[in-house]
Subunit: 290 residues, 2 copies
DNA sequence: GTTCCGCATGAATCGATAG
DNA sequence: ACTATCGATTCATGCGGAA
C-alpha cells in the first residue's frame, strides 16, 4: 500500500489559510477501506469496473459473481461514510444472452438489506455514446447514477448546481416581471412583494434527475470512464469545500482532479500500479495549472 | 364487456384493398385478455396505472401489492403475444419514505420467472416534467420503457424510426459528400459510386435507447398519460402495417389512435366506462380527419 | 396570416396537520 | 406510531386571444 499525497493552498477559503489534499493510494480497495475511520467521508463517487468489462485491468468479474464481489466493498463504504454523506454509484448492466443482466437490480436489493437507503436514480444521458449497429438493439446512450444514503437527513446543496432556464424563460421572464411589478405597485405591503422578489432577476432553475453530458473525448491513451463534469456535479451538489471525497476505483484520477479543483480533499484508491501512477501525474498537472 | 369497433380503408396498402380496425373494449383487462387467442398480437404497448396514482380513476394499487396485482396480467399478455412480438411497458417507481420503491425491479425479476426476456430498458426523458422543489430531491424527468420479448428472434424494423442527424452530422456530412463527389468523379465505375450513394443525401441516423419527448399538454379535458409520439415510435419500430397492437390499459385511447393512423389494427381494453367512451370518440375523430 | 403573451395544467413530493 | 388528506413548491408546454 503506497500513498501519494498532492497538496495545495486553498486560496478561496474565507477562513484562515487551509490546505487541500489529494491522497492517491495504490492498493486493493477492500484492504485500504479498512484502514479508514468510521463516518469520515462526506461523499463517495465511483464508477467501478463493470462486469466483464476492462478484463485486462481488473481481472474481469463475471456478471453472475458481480454482486457477491461488490457487497463486501459496499459494506465498508457504508462504515466510512458520514451519516449525512452520500454514495453515488455509476453503473450499467451489460447485455448477456440477448437480455439485460439483472445484477444491478440484485445489487440494489442487497445493499438495501445492508441498511443503505436507495434514495434516487439519476440518469446520465450520454449524448455521444459508443457507435455501432445491431439488428435487435439500438446504441446504449445512458447509464445509471444510483444515489444511496445512510439516513434520510443527508446534506444537499441544490443551489450550487442550478442551470440556465429553458428558452421559455428567456423570452418570457421579462414580461412576467413587468406584470409582477405592476402587481407590486398596486398592492404594496400586501405580501405580494416577497413573491415577486423570488422571480425577478431569476435566470436559473434547478436541474432534474436527468444529467445530460457528453463522454470525454478519448484523445488520451486511456479510457476516461466518465467526464470530469460528472463527479464535479455531484461534488458541488453533496459537499462543501474542505469536505472529503472518496473514490475507491479511481482509475486515471478523474474524481480526485474534480475534487482538487473544487477545494475538496479526496481519497482515491486504485489497485493497478499503472493507473495509480497516471492518476498522480494527472493531479500533479492540475496543481501546475492553478 | 362491450366492444366498439372503428374501421377505415387502408388506402396505402399495396395489396388489395384492406381494412384497418380498432377494437375498443370496455371491461377488466384480465377477463378480456382470456378471450384473446394465443400468439395473436404483434405488439403490446401500455402504461398501466402507477402504484397509488390516478386514484380517482383507477383503484389505486398500493406499492407493496403492485407486483402481485400485475403478474396475472403479464402472464396473459405473454400468452397472447406472438413469439416474434414485443411488449413495451411504461412505468416508474414512486418515492415512498424518502426512497425509490423497489416494485419495478421486483416486477422485472418475477416476469423473468414467467419466461419473459428483459431485452432492453429505454429511457423516456420528459423535458416538461412535473414542477416542484424539495430539500432532498430534484424533479423526476424520466420514466422507464421496459422491453420484454418471448424469444430472442423478435421483429424490429429499425429503418422506420431513423431520425434527422444532429448539427454535428450536418456540418460533417457536407464535407464528407464533397470529398466523395470528387472521388466519384475521378474514379467513375470503380465501385466507389455505390459507397457514395450510401452517404450522399443521407440525413437520417438510427436513434439510441433514450427517447426525448415532452408530455402531452392538456387542453383536452382528460390527461393523456403519454404523448402519441411514444406509442407511434414503438409501433413503427416493432410492427408492419396490418399487424395487431394491443393496449390493455387504453385510457383515453392514445395507443389505438397511433395504431390507427399508422394502418395497424388495434385492440384497446379499458375498465372505466368514461375513458372507454372517450377513447371511442377520440378514435372516431381520427377517421374524420383522414 | 404571423408573432407575441397570458394562462392553465400536470403519473410529483414533502411536511404539517388531523383522525 | 401509523395512515389519510391538504397546502406549498415549481417550470415546460400548447392553446387562445391580442397586437
Amino acid at each position: 500500500m503506497t500513498i501519494n499525497t498532492i497538496e495545495k493552498n486553498n486560496l478561496f477559503s474565507t477562513k484562515a489559510k487551509t490546505k487541500v489534499k489529494a491522497d492517491v493510494i495504490l492498493g486493493d480497495c477492500l484492504d485500504v477501506l479498512k484502514t479508514l475511520p468510521d463516518n469520515s467521508v462526506d461523499l463517495i463517487v465511483t464508477s467501478p469496473p463493470y462486469a466483464d468489462q476492462r478484463k485486462s485491468t481488473y481481472g474481469g468479474i463475471g456478471p453472475d459473481k458481480y454482486v457477491e464481489w461488490f457487497l463486501p466493498i459496499t459494506k465498508e463504504l457504508k462504515r466510512v461514510l458520514h451519516p449525512k454523506g452520500t454514495f453515488i454509484l455509476n453503473i450499467k448492466e451489460k447485455v448477456a444472452n440477448g437480455e439485460r443482466h439483472t445484477y444491478v437490480m440484485e445489487l440494489i436489493m442487497e445493499m438495501r438489506k445492508q441498511g443503505w437507503l436507495w434514495t434516487e436514480e439519476f440518469i446520465w444521458h450520454k449524448k455521444n455514446c459508443f457507435p455501432g449497429k445491431w439488428p435487435n438493439r439500438f446504441r446504449d446512450a445512458w447509464e445509471r447514477l444510483l444515489q444511496f444514503n445512510k439516513t434520510k437527513e443527508f446534506n444537499m446543496y441544490q443551489d450550487e448546481v442550478r442551470v440556465p432556464m429553458g428558452d421559455w424563460a428567456k423570452t418570457r421572464l421579462k414580461n412576467l416581471s413587468e406584470t409582477d411589478k405592476r402587481r407590486d405597485n398596486s398592492k404594496v405591503g400586501s405580501g405580494f412583494g416577497k413573491n415577486v422578489s423570488k422571480w425577478v432577476g431569476r435566470e436559473l432553475a434547478y436541474p432534474t434527475n436527468v444529467v445530460v453530458m457528453a463522454t470525454e473525448s478519448s484523445n488520451k491513451n486511456h479510457s476516461a470512464v466518465f467526464p470530469k463534469e460528472l463527479p464535479s456535479w455531484f461534488i458541488k451538489l453533496f459537499t462543501k469545500p474542505n469536505d472529503i471525497v472518496l473514490d475507491p476505483f479511481l482509475g486515471s484520477g478523474t474524481t480526485s482532479i474534480a475534487a482538487f479543483q473544487l477545494d475538496r480533499n479526496s481519497i482515491g484508491i486504485e489497485i493497478q500500479e499503472e493507473y495509480h501512477k497516471l492518476a498522480v501525474e494527472n493531479i500533479n498537472q492540475q496543481t501546475k495549472m492553478i
